[in-house]
């Protein structure tokens, strides 16, 4: 079974682009725009990785991440946001909450490397 990646972002272009890219790389994806949809998706099937934006329409990303972590503690969470955090902030603050942080301008190949590290490689 292909690993399932849950993409939580309120921007449809980003959701679709990420989903298309990860599908091409051999992953299954589930895309949602809101925290409520994200919780419903996690309840349906525990994903192998959650990619979450920081600024959602209905909630703050970090709060959503906390709720999702309670639901699926074993699932790593990647914070993918356009908000730039200084490295020391990432190291000292965000690393306690998420498994990884990536700026949204990060090239797709680097995002893929992080996804593979956290969710495991897709089956051949």
């Amino acid at each position: 079974m292909k690993p399932l990646i849950l993409i939580v972002d309120d921007e449809p272009e980003i959701r679709d682009l990420l989903s298309e890219f990860l599908n091409l790389q051999g992953y299954r994806t589930s895309v949602v725009a809101t925290s409520i949809e994200a919780e419903a998706a996690v309840a349906r099937e525990a994903p192998s990785l959650i990619m979450c934006d920081l600024q959602l329409e209905d909630a703050d990303g970090l709060i959503v991440i906390e709720r999702l972590k309670k639901m699926v503690p074993a699932t790593p969470i990647l914070l993918l946001t356009g908000v730039y955090f200084e490295p020391h902030v990432v190291r000292e603050v965000l690393s306690k909450t998420v498994a990884a942080y990536l700026y949204k301008t990060t090239p797709l190949q680097e995002i893929l490397a992080t996804v593979q590290r956290l969710a495991g490689p897709p089956p051949a």
């Binding site: 921007e11 682009l17 890219f21 091409l24 356009g82 949204k104 301008t105 090239p107 190949q109």
Partner: protein
């Protein structure tokens, strides 16, 4: 390595096997037909030989019987009207027996007083004994010839006649047959019987004659009398006391009675039947002797010839089987030789089937079906090779296309991602600028307006389209300065210095002057000033 064709699947073997099978089906049929034909032919030959032998036996027998008849007839004529003395009678008898080797005895017997007026009965008899002759008087009281049936019957018959075989007790003391004829004298102008002359011969001579015919291994001769009494028979147990009818009844063999009846009717012919007496199937030719009313049967066991036919049959079968085997071998060998190219083509097809298109196909040796097939194989292999090369080329190009497509897709996705990231960043930056309540003006290095936030629009009434690319001095100037006072701002920007909280005047769309506090920050990109940001707050 081509997978070898199982031996019994090879065409040459199957063809040879088919010939053998058909042959083994046909051989018994042909053999049986041939056996029947040969059997018919052999039996016909045997019947012909038996018929010839029958004629020979009958002829010989007739010679013997005729010589006896001739002797007796001659004596009867010789005795007619002849005056005889006892010595003369004995002399005649001696001469008759000595001159005719087939005669065993001879007798001359007179009617009462016919020999001499003073002698009532006179009869003389002579027979062979110990290399010589013995004479006897048949008028002696122990014999009294005139009381013997053969004498009375001969006088009564008045002509020459043959007796039935009998055992001549007191005479020859052997089984004999006698031919007798009356002789006459003229008395008072009339021929009256004067006596009987008779001669006989030992039937052992006839039996010897019958045995002398050695034809076939199983051949035999039966001689029987007018009444059917057996004069000669292959089984020595049967003799003159046995008759054809008696044997027919005893052995339930009606064919014997039939033969006798046909001979009596002076007919000749042949019969085939199973002889329960001889315990085998026999073929018998029969023929009357025409003298003495005798009949001759010459027979043989058909099995003697059928055995030969059977031998011939087995020889035929063996010969045909050997021929068939040889033929199958030749067919197998010839077919194998002729089909060898086909076998090679089969191996080639296996190789091609396994994908080996570099296999060697021998060029056609002859312009026949196999040659054409070989040529077709060569063409097929070359076409397949060309197709394979084309397929490899297409596959390679397809793979390259897939790679290129994948790469292109990746690049497109990456570009889209970069674009969206940039757009996002721009939007985010614009959002930040737009969210500031102070009027913010983004400047180029030449101090022209490149961007304003909504607070500028709100404060001045100008739309962005009316200000972009306009010099900053058209909108705002340091307080107390004129158009030339713009230089301190440009100078500070050029030098990369900040100007903070500088009193200035800004003009709105209506030309109204609005006092503001101006702060100018140079906009740096890697230590290089690329523009500036002016922030205006109402004073």
């Amino acid at each position: 390595m081509a997978r070898p064709i199982p031996f019994f699947n090879r065409l040459s073997v199957r063809l040879a096997g088919l010939i053998l099978l058909l042959g083994f089906l046909a051989v018994p049929l042909v053999s049986e037909l041939k056996r029947r034909a040969v059997e018919r032919l052999v039996l016909q030959q045997a019947e012909l030989q038996a018929a010839t032998a029958t004629i020979a036996v009958v002829d010989n027998l007739k010679d013997v019987l005729r010589s006896a008849e001739t002797t007796v007839s001659y004596l009867a004529r010789d005795l007619e009207d002849r005056a005889l003395t006892p010595g003369g009678v004995d002399g005649i008898l001696r001469n008759a027996v000595v001159s005719n080797r087939s005669l065993s005895d001879c007798t001359i017997d007179f009617e009462p007083f016919a020999f001499a007026p003073t002698v009532e009965h006179y009869g003389r008899y002579t027979r062979r004994a110990g290399g010589g002759l013995t004479f006897r008087d048949l008028a002696n009281p122990d014999y009294q010839y005139w009381k013997r049936p053969w004498y009375a019957e001969t006088i009564g018959r008045g002509t020459l006649g043959w007796s039935e075989p009998f055992f001549d007790q007191g005479g020859a003391d052997a089984a004999v047959v006698r031919v007798a004829a009356p002789f006459y004298r003229t008395v008072g102008g009339q021929r009256v019987p004067a006596g009987v002359v008779a001669a006989g011969f030992d039937l052992n001579g006839v039996k010897a004659l019958a045995r002398a015919y050695d034809f076939f291994d199983t051949g035999y001769v039966i001689i029987f009398s007018n009444e059917g009494r057996l004069i000669a028979h292959p089984d020595p147990a049967f003799g003159i006391n046995d008759t054809m009818e008696g044997l027919a009844q005893k052995f339930d063999q009606p064919q014997l009675a039939t033969i006798h009846q046909r001979v009596l009717a002076r007919r000749q012919g042949a019969l085939s039947y199973f002889s329960s007496m001889l315990h085998r199937a026999v073929h018998e030719n029969y023929k009357p002797t025409e003298i003495a009313g005798w009949g001759v049967v010459v027979g043989y066991a058909e099995s003697e010839f059928l055995r030969q036919v059977s031998d011939v049959r087995w020889i035929t079968i063996a010969t045909m089987a050997a021929t068939l085997g040889l033929l199958a071998l030749i067919v197998w060998f010839a077919t194998r030789q002729r089909l060898r190219p086909l076998g090679e083509l089969t191996d080639v097809s296996d190789e091609i089937g396994r994908g080996n298109l570099d296999c060697v196909i021998l060029p056609p040796r002859r312009d026949d079906e196999i040659g054409r097939l070989s040529q077709s194989f060569i063409v097929m292999r070359d076409v397949l090779k060309a197709n394979r090369a084309l397929e490899l080329q297409v596959r390679e190009q397809a793979a390259n296309l897939v790679i290129a497509n994948s790469k292109l897709t990746g690049e497109v996705l990456e570009r889209r991602w970069v674009n969206q990231a940039l757009e996002h960043q721009l939007r985010y930056a614009q959002l930040i600028i737009d969210s500031i309540s102070d009027a913010v003006i983004v400047l180029t290095k030449a101090m022209h307006v490149s961007r304003i936030n909504p607070a500028v629009v709100h404060l001045t009434g100008f739309e962005a389209t009316g200000l972009v690319n306009e010099p900053l001095s058209r909108l705002v100037r340091p307080e107390g300065g004129d158009e030339r006072m713009a230089d301190p701002l440009g100078q500070a920007l050029k030098e990369g210095r900040d100007l903070r909280d500088l009193p200035a005047v800004m003009w709105d769309r209506t030309g109204r002057a609005i006092p503001v506090r101006l702060t100018l920050f140079p906009l740096r990109d890697r230590d290089k000033v690329v523009g500036g940001i002016a922030i205006l707050r109402p004073a």
